[in-house]
Symmetry: C2
Subunit: 288 residues, 2 copies
């Protein structure tokens, strides 16, 4: 961390995030880009992009390299840790990034194509037996049976923890090569199919047709929907609601790119990133 | 003219117009770009652009060249004639371009930074002694004194015509090297300062302090405000009002770039041009 407090914390290192970053940097703002291992996987995979003006017929990967070089030429700070919970207090945002808390005066959300739930009925059962943090909700399930779905090995310690307090713990890894997990945990190798239950979770049906009866179900390490990252953020039709200034419903919080709606295209993202970066800079300047 | 009827007629060949053009062309639409001698004079003059992602530190002129090359690589039809009046009939737009009438199923307005009036009070006196077409309004001023302000030599025939029907005609060229004008016309070499009059035009005050008394005043060959090009187009705060789909208040008419509002920046224009080009393409496909 280079600064005590940043002017802009930008979530996402795809075209929208980097465009916001270069524009705010030119405005002399302190910027941090909170990215991911791979910035914009959909662009990275694109065979040929032909509609970003100025670059006819370029590979997605090469375009992304050019974008990253542009940001690096301006010495912009980029971290590849994912952003966790964000809290606001008196116009100052605190963001959990890995083990660190980063502070910023404004936020630009540029997290790409909206969150796809791991299970079709997640929304419906959220808070009714389904959660995203076993360590947080664990005590509720003391002495009960639970199932944890893990998107990466980072979820394994949560399974170990639950094994100590629950009657029975099932762990369903969505990745290969899972590590050493507490011997009391039963590993499930089938894929999850659907949640069983009326009002509350009663179990999980698997792709092989079997059902595992549990009272608690956790999805760990998947994508986090932006409105869960920032409480109160308004969503419309699965996208973050913004106006033409890229303002969300929350003061100091801007959004740009695929997360704000279709078309999912590079030029749209770069343009919106610019507007968000400039308006967030104006917002911060007005504040100081 | 390559086509009987175009899918998109794009007014303006700056970043927004060319971005709309490449995106609609990729969607297999018939496109014409109605430009000007010089596309985007403000970008052309820019010493260094540093905030169009992918092109760090590029001269405005060079960036514009890259944009034009991209459009040319797709064999997009570009004319450097200015668009005149636009009329709509049964979902088909007719556009006067030079001496030709071009037809199109949709319009994308990308005409850049909004119209600057030649005289400060033009809006106020419009239709009250001030007009933009002497040939059209001429008969009203038969036997009266009028003054014509010409932005280019194209205005000279209108001065000659007015000389035949008016008591006295003054011609004030805003360019050098005016041609042979009817001998009854008095040439004014000072600059215009302000319109004199209460409710109606009574005269024009010049930069040298003199006032010329006339009942009719014409500004010829200047920029045309978009809402005068297309009747009924909604303007908000001097810019064309659009939603996040770049739709104007008129079906089939889209707008993108500086003409829709600040920031006046390349990335914003390219992004909006893309959205306008794609949505106009969808509109046309839905129609056919």
């Amino acid at each position: 961390m280079r600064h005590d407090i940043y002017d802009l914390a930008i979530l996402g290192c795809g075209p929208a995030g980097l465009s916001a970053a270069i524009n705010a940097t030119i405005r002399n703002k302190k910027v941090i880009v909170i990215g991911a291992e791979l910035c914009s996987p959909p662009l990275h995979k694109a065979q040929k992009i032909d509609n970003y003006l100025g670059f006819p017929a370029i590979k997605g990967e090469d375009l992304l390299d050019r974008f990253m070089q542009h940001a690096q030429s301006m010495d912009i700070e980029i971290t590849s840790n994912k952003a966790g919970a964000i809290n606001e207090d008196a116009g100052k945002f605190s963001i959990l990034v890995g083990d660190e808390i980063i502070q910023s005066r404004s936020i630009v959300i540029a997290t790409g194509i909206p969150y796809k739930p791991t299970l079709p009925q997640e929304e419906e059962f959220l808070g009714r037996g389904l959660g995203y943090c076993a360590t947080c909700d664990g005590p509720i399930y003391r002495g009960k049976d639970v199932l944890l779905i893990g998107h990466s090995s980072e979820a394994e310690p949560e399974a170990d923890f639950m094994a100590e307090i629950c009657a029975k713990v099932y762990y369903l890894p969505l990745y290969k090569d899972y590590g050493a997990i507490d011997s009391r945990v039963e590993i499930i190798t089938s894929r999850p199919a659907e949640i069983i239950g009326e009002d509350f979770v009663e179990g999980l049906k698997l792709s092989d047709g079997k059902t595992i009866k549990v009272e608690g179900l956790f999805v760990l390490g998947g994508e986090t929907a932006p409105d869960r990252l920032i409480p109160g953020l308004e969503i419309e039709d699965k996208h973050i609601k913004v106006n033409r200034r890229q303002e969300t419903n929350l003061a100091g919080v801007y959004a740009a790119g695929d997360c704000t709606g279709t078309p999912y295209q590079v030029a749209k993202s770069v343009g919106e990133g610019q507007i968000a970066g400039l308006n967030a800079s104006n917002y911060v300047s007005g504040k100081k």
